[in-house]
Symmetry: C2
Subunit: 211 residues, 2 copies
């Protein structure tokens, strides 16, 4: 049989290296992702990895980017699963939290690693921006349905929503000992408070609540 062309084999090698790297991160965590371990798992010497990737960081970056695509996919499906705007918000929240639960190390890599997030969100990879647009879209739908209080900043609301999502996930990831309730409950409560408010409405005629 004819041996596949060189370019093809090179792509295969790249893919195999990435697959093994992903496997290691999933099984043993991000800190266990060493060049020698990846190389051994892929059947190479450590030096060979540098023929396919510039860096260890480059490998991590690709892992993060593909993780971001997974997240985007999960969010897209969630957004499509509910027409009613509030239900869509909750579906998005559940999908976000679900992704972080299934791949905590990937989430950490994308959103909590010092060096990474900048290049992932600021780079030419638009998955991150697309994911955020999904959140923003849910609030636009909420607005179109007339469900929002007047004078809301839609972009600001989407940011606040993201802050809530990320706050819940990342706090649970690092301080799980201190946070007994599961992510879903934490987030559900927070989202309820956000949507319905916390302060009691002032009786008519009294002074307005501070802003």
């Amino acid at each position: 049989m004819p041996s596949p062309p060189r370019a093809r084999r090179k792509e295969d090698a790249r893919a195999r290296i990435l697959a093994e790297a992903r496997h290691i991160v999933l099984e043993q965590g991000f800190e266990a992702l060493t060049m020698r371990r990846i190389a051994e798992a892929a059947g190479y010497s450590a030096a060979a990895l540098y023929l396919h990737f510039e860096n260890r960081e480059a490998i991590a970056r690709e892992l993060g980017e593909s993780g971001m695509h997974s997240l985007l996919k999960a969010l897209t499906e969630a957004a499509a699963s509910a027409d009613e705007p509030v239900k869509r918000l909750r579906a998005l929240a559940l999908a976000y939290v679900g992704f972080a639960r299934i791949e905590p190390e990937t989430y950490r890599l994308i959103f909590m690693e010092p060096s990474f997030a900048a290049s992932a969100l600021g780079g030419k990879d638009e998955a991150g921006a697309a994911a955020f647009q999904l959140l923003a879209g849910a609030f636009e739908a909420l607005d179109r349905a007339g469900r929002l209080r007047p004078g809301q900043d839609l972009g600001g609301l989407a940011l606040t929503f993201w802050i809530l999502l990320h706050g819940t996930v990342s706090l649970k990831l690092t301080c799980s000992a201190f946070l007994s309730p599961p992510e879903e409950d934490l987030l559900a409560a927070a989202l309820d408070s956000l949507l319905n408010g916390v302060l009691a409405p002032e009786p008519m005629g009294s002074k307005q609540p501070e802003r």
Copy 2:
């Protein structure tokens, strides 16, 4: 002059090592905190550090604990600065964000490093719990003043507040390129939304908004 007693000198050495370590973290970031660098700055060999600390991790832990005390102090002062409950909440939020702005690396160490938060918040050091109690206390004050909607879970609200604080700070820390507004503005908007709610009140007689 008599040389100070041994215990005293040993304490001094410990303190000096910690001070230099803190200096390095502040100046060059947490990743630059290597044993040899600390040792050189403190005028020791690397091996000497192990006479005063079990680990590099032990040094980092002490830095984190003292950082947590700083945060607790800042929050305490903020809480005392405002009697009016809503203003106290905002003061706490500003203090939290301000701490993270002044010592981002310390914040990262405490709340974003994989290994750390568990031991810092779960350990016998109560600064973390005390800090959280300050947040909870603000909501209790809010409740006592009759400013809360009926049937609110005070503990849950405090958690949500913390989630908001941490979400804002940590997202800004890792995705600053994607988040143009300063932390204070992000957090102020989020807090406004949380307190006053997002959804428009339904007209009387119609069905209740989804929960």
